[in-house]
């Protein structure tokens, strides 16, 4: 843990996933205030840095997070449909991250008890990239990823 942190500090620049989670209020007990918008989390730039920082706190790859109605190829990066279902018990939050976007965090959904842990929305993608579905359940983090190719459509002119 310590080593990871030091490493992250040394490399500088990138914000680690842990910082991201802390900033997003996920590491604190209780719900984030409704009108909070966590600037630091939405300004993360490097997936590499966040992945290096995972160490002991790394989200576990989970087969219980499923992408639905999410194509492998997007005809246009301006609108990419993303559907995520978490089958993990006590899911509290679902976040969407795009590895190669200028800022990788796209959206975080806090899901109160009584709301299905399944939702769909649409995001922008600048280029072909891995998309991560990050789930917080019982205070632990789980992740699934999917590569979505972005193509150039139409006449290209």
């Amino acid at each position: 843990m310590d080593t990871t942190r030091r490493h992250a500090l040394k490399t500088g620049g990138g914000v680690t996933l842990l910082t991201l989670l802390a900033a997003a209020g996920w590491l604190k007990p209780g719900e984030a205030a409704a009108e909070d918008w966590n600037k630091a989390a939405f300004e993360t730039k490097s997936m590499d840095e966040t992945m290096k920082a995972l160490g002991g706190g790394a989200p576990a790859t989970s087969a219980d997070i499923i992408f639905f109605s999410t194509p492998d190829i997007a005809e246009n990066g301006a609108v990419v449909p993303i559907g995520i279902t978490s089958k993990i018990a006590n899911t509290q939050s679902i976040a969407i991250l795009v590895e190669k976007n200028p800022n990788m965090l796209a959206a975080v959904f806090d899901i109160p008890a009584g709301t299905d842990t399944s939702l769909s929305t649409r995001i922008k993608m600048g280029q072909t990239s891995n998309v991560y579905a990050l789930v917080k359940a019982d205070g632990k983090y789980h992740v699934a990823s999917k590569e979505i190719k972005v193509t150039l459509g139409g006449c290209g002119g």
Binding site: P71, I73, A74, E75, P81, S120, L152, G154, G156
Partner: protein, 272 residues
């Protein structure tokens, strides 16, 4: 000799593998694009334009403070339901064949007292703050024909004349690149990049294409009308700027709408 044959066989096998790989990649690309389009169908932002257009339709506008309740789209003053499915048509009061957009402008100018310049100031939105009233109105009016069978009165002499003119224009090659409408839309099963091209010379192709305009264009974040569709096709044909509501725009719309007759209207749609 044997060694050589082996090499040849190996090369041949390699080539086959590449060919199969290529074919597989391609068919899965097409399938995945189909999945992408399907995923977009649920929740079409065109509805936001429809809502804005509906509001405008019923609100008194212009110096005369008149709403579109007096605007006759061909089925009587203020009648919207099914009107788009029978356009373009001949309007005796204007002594001309009009499509939806030119008719909307006519109502704004002749009934609401808005100058033609103001009515057509923003023909097409710019994907940002410059929004077009005409696109919103067209979204609303066309949405009221959803499911209604296309019945453009192609046997009416003025309309028939326009239709024939449009047909000639469809095949007119010009510009630096020798393009006509038919270059891209004259054969079955063709694509430009990954975009399927409807064969507009065939009934099914024209029906499928025409009945899905206007459409929310994902790439532009705007609702686009058929006038826009034609203008942008000509831009890509390397032609000059098609004048909004011009004779060529009406003739081509009449030709394509007429060819779509018999199919249920299915717009506004959502497209790349």
């Amino acid at each position: 000799m044997i060694a050589r044959l082996r090499i040849a066989a190996a090369i041949a096998l390699g080539v086959t593998a590449v060919a199969i790989g290529g074919a597989f990649a391609q068919s899965s690309t097409v399938d995945e694009i189909a999945k992408y389009r399907e995923a977009l169908q649920d929740g079409n932002p065109a509805e936001l334009w429809e809502a804005r257009g509906e509001e405008m339709w019923t609100t008194p506008r212009g110096p005369k403070r008149v709403s579109f309740a007096t605007c006759d789209l061909g089925l009587g003053p203020g009648v919207v339901k099914g009107a788009y499915a029978a356009l373009p048509r001949y309007f005796a009061d204007a002594k001309s064949v009009m499509d939806l957009e030119t008719r909307l402008v006519w109502c704004m100018v002749n009934q609401q007292g808005i100058s033609e310049g103001d009515a057509t100031k923003i023909k097409f939105g710019d994907g940002s703050a410059r929004r077009s009233d005409l696109e919103a109105l067209a979204a609303y009016v066309t949405s009221q024909s959803r499911g209604v069978e296309m019945k453009v009165p192609v046997n009416e002499p003025h309309v028939r004349d326009m239709y024939r003119l449009g047909e000639q224009m469809f095949f007119y090659r010009g510009g630096t690149h020798d393009f006509s409408c038919a270059t891209c839309h004259g054969e079955d099963g063709k694509r430009i990049r990954l975009q399927d091209l409807p064969n507009l010379t065939k009934t099914e192709g024209a029906q499928k294409a025409y009945t899905t305009w206007p459409a929310y264009r994902v790439s532009q974040g705007e609702l686009r009308t058929f006038q826009w569709r034609l203008n942008d096709c000509f831009r890509q044909q390397r032609f000059p700027d098609l004048v909004f509501g011009s004779e060529a725009s009406i003739a081509l719309t009449t030709y394509l709408a007429g060819r779509a007759n018999g199919a249920p209207y299915n717009g506004p749609a959502i497209k790349r």
